[in-house]
């Protein structure tokens, strides 16, 4: 190859290759940034640009970002003005009482016990610690769609605090450490239900269970609202899912990260009065609602269709008024098991 040809190729590379490489590098950097901050970008696209996208919830940090965007004062307990707090407040409030959310640590007398960090209004401080209160909330194993804004008539039931007490029966064959597995699954379930319905789950107890569906509802509730039976068996059309205040939670073979998450959401949805959607061509099925495609794999974001959400919110409202909705359910409540 002659020197002239080498020089021509070098010039060609300088004139074309370097600009193309620079452009590709810029574009690739953007792709990397977009993938790294996917939840934030999709949230901006949905809330600010009005685009029809599904926003994943990657954990508590995105909820804090959303809460800060919606109400900047709600997540800034330091914004309370300590200088305006009357000095007579220590006399009116004994040190033994737990501080309210508007009370600042500066208002405590010098000999007061150590103050606790400010908590959100959804977690009442008088509630005793339960098994669902680990120090660090486990990260969601699957993508969860952010809840849409509720309509005006459902705003009251949505924002009303409600805790559903659950007693879990667990088949030891569901996982090597079945008790921890059930606790973690119910924590994930509580996060999803809290996002969609404003319902928190409180695990009152975990009991070993032989997995027989017939004996599920015979166990004493022991103060719980409902009994959930975590079974190693997959969904089938022979065993009823829900009974009187009890529900079976079969496993979902297509989910590797959380095989009992969608089934638990489905069973609780049935207990809360939502119907199983068995039409694979429905909008709810295609959107990945857990009341429809309960056997979806982990790539499908966990979401809830508006009709089921409305039914559950109305049931939550009824339960909060002392009329629990978990009455005996019809027998044809098994979800459709048809593949997509």
């Amino acid at each position: 190859m002659s020197t002239t040809r080498v020089k021509a190729l070098a010039k060609l590379f300088l004139l074309l290759g370097l600009p193309v490489t620079a452009l590709a590098g810029l574009f690739g950097g953007g792709v990397y940034l977009g993938h790294s901050h996917r939840a934030t970008i999709l949230y901006v696209e949905k809330e600010w640009l009005g685009m029809d996208v599904v926003v994943p919830s990657n954990g508590p940090w995105i909820d804090a970002q959303i809460a800060r965007a919606k109400d900047p004062k709600a997540v800034k307990p330091e914004a309370t003005k300590p200088s305006e707090t009357p000095e007579t407040q220590p006399e009116t409030k004994p040190p033994e009482t737990t501080p309210t959310e508007t009370k600042t640590p500066e208002t405590k007398p010098p000999d007061a016990p150590e103050t606790t960090p400010p908590k959100s209004p959804e977690s009442p401080e008088t509630a005793p610690p339960t098994l669902l209160d680990p120090p660090v909330r486990p990260r969601m194993p699957v993508t969860v769609a952010l809840a849409d804004t509720v309509s005006d008539d459902l705003r009251g039931p949505f924002h009303a605090a409600y805790t559903l007490k659950i007693k879990a029966l667990v088949d030891p064959g569901v996982a090597p450490d079945a008790f921890t597995y059930v606790q973690r699954t119910l924590e994930w379930t509580s996060q999803v239900l809290g996002n969609q319905l404003g319902v928190d789950l409180e695990l009152t107890g975990v009991v070993r269970w032989d997995g027989a569906p017939g004996s599920l509802c015979e166990h004493p509730r022991e103060g719980a609202d409902v009994i959930l039976g975590f079974s190693r068996q997959a969904f089938n059309n022979s065993d009823p899912i829900v009974g009187d205040g009890c529900a079976l939670v079969p496993t979902s073979p297509r989910s590797r990260q959380a095989p009992h998450l969608r089934p638990a959401l489905f069973s609780l949805g049935r207990l809360l009065g939502a119907a199983a959607i068995g039409d694979p061509g429905s909008e709810a099925w295609r959107a990945g609602s857990w009341m429809a495609d309960v056997l979806a794999d982990d790539a499908q974001p966990v979401s809830l269709d508006p009709e089921s959400r409305r039914a559950m919110l109305l049931a939550k409202d009824a339960a909060a008024q002392g009329e629990p909705p978990w009455a005996p359910a019809p027998t044809d409540d098994a979800p459709a098991t048809e593949e997509k």
């Binding site: 950097g29 792709v31 990397y32 977009g34 993938h35 996917r38 970008i41 996208v53």
Partner: protein, 71 residues
């Protein structure tokens, strides 16, 4: 003898690389800051859109693989 024709007085030629007239600051800002910045922002923004909305596409996977080589 006729006098030589008068040539019009020429403006002094500017030196090499010297501006004939000063550019406006707005033109300089548009030409060197705004337009290049807009083009770069469009390129990076389009990449971010692809990375956020198509996380499983081959472009995103290729970029992540390439970034993983240097991580």
């Amino acid at each position: 003898m006729a006098a030589p024709p008068k040539t019009p007085a020429r403006q002094p030629q500017p030196a090499e690389g010297e501006e004939t007239e000063p550019r406006s600051r707005l033109g300089w800002f548009l030409g060197w800051i705004m337009v290049p910045g807009l083009v770069l922002a469009l390129i990076v923004g389009s990449g971010a859109y692809v990375g956020a909305n198509h996380p499983e596409s081959w472009v995103t996977r290729a970029v992540l693989w390439l970034a993983g080589l240097f991580a």
